[in-house]
């Protein structure tokens, strides 16, 4: 295990950024977000970013190709996938787990090359949590917020940053940094995690029962009743990966790009002759069935949630996966 003085964290960032692009969680226009480090940019004091770390692998808008149309002819020039290595520092355990979930979708055959390139170019440096918010429930999903994983795990204790490489990429990163000293981190106090109000959530039930039982649960109607149909929960969610592919006529050609989409939107499945999810109930149900049932069914029981608590904080009407999971298990809303 390596160490670095927290008082000179800026120097560490400068050292990393000297070789590749570095993203750290920082306050930009008052909002914590993963931002490209530049001298002077300080880490946010917030526990986690408002938007999740998925942005760096699956950005909200991404160009796919540019077309030119002339007469009856069409030509394509594909967009370049990222070719520059980068480091993302300060990823929390929950967000780090979300990469696994995104991988299971984007890297499944045929792999999404844009995502894949970013994943390959990235070195993920995680940061252990010590002061969780009440909305945190990663522990109930088998995540240890104090052992966050990634290519390099970091801990902050007293005045020291402890770094532990977990992968070859991580080793390489640490090896490239000067003046790292050896050290052992002290045992952390984990008692606050035992006090988390949502720590005892149990998601195992959802793979235990038949899909249709959950689907036909009477609670959906009531739970979805006040849903505004906005995309806040999906857009701040680190595991939501739905996207739309759209064309933009620039006047000099057509740019095809993909952008985040939300299954909560009424036009998500709209076709020329209607939609198969006509009311918010079906859309709402889709989102949570996907997280709790469909995704685990298709991916060896892996729940599509990492317990980051963002949807608990951001939903305009305070509806969230915790309320849904509890209501489903109780069978009443």
């Amino acid at each position: 295990m390596k160490t670095w003085k927290l008082s000179t964290l800026d120097a560490l960032f400068a050292a990393i950024a000297g070789k590749q692009t570095l993203y750290i969680p920082a306050d930009v226009a008052g909002q914590p977000v993963f931002a490209r480090w530049e001298p002077g940019l300080a880490m946010t004091r917030a526990l986690n970013t408002g938007r999740s770390a998925k942005d760096l692998f699956f950005p909200q808008v991404e160009d796919l190709a540019r077309f030119r149309v002339a007469g009856k002819t069409v030509s394509v020039s594909p967009a370049q996938a990222l070719q520059e290595p980068f480091v993302i520092f300060g990823v929390r355990a929950c967000d780090c787990r979300s990469f696994d979930i995104l991988d299971s979708v984007f890297l499944a055959e045929p792999a999404d090359t844009f995502y894949q390139a970013r994943r390959e170019q990235a070195t993920v440096v995680t940061l252990a949590c010590s002061q969780p918010e009440e909305t945190c429930f990663c522990t109930s999903l088998g995540i240890d917020p104090q052992a966050p994983g990634g290519d390099v795990s970091c801990w902050m204790a007293e005045d020291t940053l402890y770094l532990q490489a977990n992968t070859e990429k991580g080793e390489a990163l640490l090896a490239s940094l000067p003046r790292l000293e050896d050290g052992e981190k002290p045992d952390a106090d984990s008692s606050v995690f035992d006090k988390l109000p949502l720590k005892d959530l149990d998601f195992s039930a959802f793979s235990g029962k038949a899909l249709m039982d959950w689907f036909n649960s009477p609670v959906w109607e009531r739970l979805s009743q006040s849903c505004l149909g906005c995309g806040s929960c999906t857009f701040v969610c680190p595991t939501c990966q739905c996207y739309d592919v759209r064309d933009f006529d620039t006047g000099h050609g057509v740019q095809r790009y993909r952008c985040w989409d939300s299954c909560m939107y009424s036009d998500f499945t709209m076709m020329a002759h209607g939609t198969n999810r006509p009311t918010q109930k079906e859309r709402f149900r889709q989102r949570f069935m996907h997280k709790l049932v469909y995704h685990p069914n298709n991916h060896g029981g892996q729940i599509g949630c990492v317990g980051c608590g963002r949807c608990l904080q951001k939903c305009p009407i305070s509806m969230n996966i915790v309320k849904v999971a509890n209501a489903l298990k109780e069978g009443k809303a």
Binding site: A70, G71, G251
Partner: protein, 663 residues
Amino acid sequence: MQRIGVFVCWCGSNIAATVDVETVAQTLAKEPGVVFSTDYQYMCSQAGQELIQEAIREHRLTGVVICSCSPRMHEATFRKTVEKAGLNPYLLEIANIREQCSWIHKDKLTATQKAVILGRAAIAKVQLNAPLTAGKSPVTKRALVIGGGIAGIQTALDIAEAGFPVDIVEKKPTIGGKMTQIDKTFPTLDCAACILTPKMVDASQNENIDIISYAQVEKVQGFVGNFSVTIRKKARYVDEHKCTGCGLCTEKCPQKKVPNEFNLGLDNRRAIYIPFAQAVPKVATIDPNYCAMLKSGKCGVCAKVCTAGAIDYKQQDQLITREYGAIVVATGFEPIQLDKFDEFAYSQSPDVVTSLEFERLMNAAGPTGGTLLRPSDGKHPHTLVFVQCVGSRCDGAEKGKSYCSKICCMYTAKHAMLTREKYPDTEVYVFYIDVRTPGKNFDEFYRRAVEEYGVHYIKGMVGKVTPQDGKLKVQASDLLGGRQLRIDADMVILAAAIEPDKTARPLATMLTASMDTNDFFTEAHPKLRPVESPTAGIFLSGACQGPKDIPETVAQASAAAAKVIGLLVKDSLTCNPCTAKPDELMCNGCSSCEKVCPYGAITYVDKSFRGPNRTTLIRRVAQVNPAVCQGCGACTVACPSGAMDLLGFSNQQILAEVDAICR
């Protein structure tokens, strides 16, 4: 896929001298959708038009772009051209490369580049043009005139003379309006009744005219050519068909103390009455507010004396619904209430009168038999003070009106002159801000009053009138003399401002005709369409549109009639196809569009829609009547949902032009 043809006109050398037309045609040929592109010397010539038509047929064109002079010049020409070749006339766009390009630029390269861009914009737009068909709506060949004053009578007579049936709705028991109360008319000083009453008789005897008196418009539906109007004919408790107008009942009625509105309350009438001797229809009316029989069931004298058996105490209001092709508003004016002008002591002294009351006092058929007597003591007045602009041209308009009532200068000159002529022993003062006498023989008339009749015209305003010791103490300022005046007057006559009749505002709402802030009806165009309301099929006659004297009123009345006749001779109306069109699926029924429509073309209906899961959803949605919509597009921007679009100038089309220009 569109198949667009592009035709670049040289306009002789008008375009070709500054724009390289060949390059334009060749460059535009490469635009998406363009399958044919050429240039020619004169596209608007016979040969040019044939060239276009041939290309339409040969290349199966689905749209045509002509790069030429302004569409204001030849759009109609070219629409006909393409229509003859079997293409919808609205699948044509014109790029204005003459007025807006070749004529304003000198550099050929610049002008050519610009012409290409303008052509591109037209191509981009025409790609999205939809074939439009002008709709037709039938015309009901009958007109309604609301208001039976001189304006309404003249309009009705002119329409009737042209052979169309016309109904006059008059709220009073007789037609004739304000002019019946006037004694003499300026600047000729001929007798008002002598020129008006023959017209009233003409109207009553004209086969094409139906006078519905003592009635009011209750409801208006429909649109130009197709109005359906419900009229409430108030019960007059006298059978109009039986009553001979002999007037016996009005002499025998025991209720004698009813203020006579015809004489503005200066004398009394009976509870059953005929407003005046020449009333049309000459039929008695029972005033239910005063008739003892109607109020308490005791009396019945009139029924006993009526030999025709016309009295019917059980008569009810009657609702008549009729169809009309055009509606003329002739609701006229009334003098304003003077309760806010206490400084003139109008409410304190009966000797302070309005000009209209003065008319009655001077009228041979008036309460004094034509002898000028003070209302307070019946004595002959010696000093008369006329005050101009009472309530007219007021700043801020809190107290009166901001506008000039227009007629006061002239009738005051008339009053002063008549007074001095009949009673040379009188002193007549006129206080004015300005004397306004534009009009044929008007200024001569005014100068006669001053020069021949010795009327004292004083520029200045009367500050206060105080009744004291049987006199009216008038304090005034003489602006030219720069002094304060005190006059002991016997009578003060106030030239009260005129305002639209009170019934005009609710009527305008029913008609969806717009009004200005003073409740005068707005004309469709202040210069070019002065007798039409912006609402199609509604016409304006007389003072309802603004203050007017009699000749102006009559002129406008005839003009309105001419417009009505022009409408009624048509069997059907061709509608402008470039109208607003709501997308019912997008419309949320919020009424924003309706509020900005100057024509009242937008209405709402509750419609059923398929909801999710086989449910039915009833929603309020906007509907545009294409026969009424003129296509301004105000609604399209007012609509927050983007549900309202304008055919021919749709959002997509304009955006396409923007894109093409900015590219």
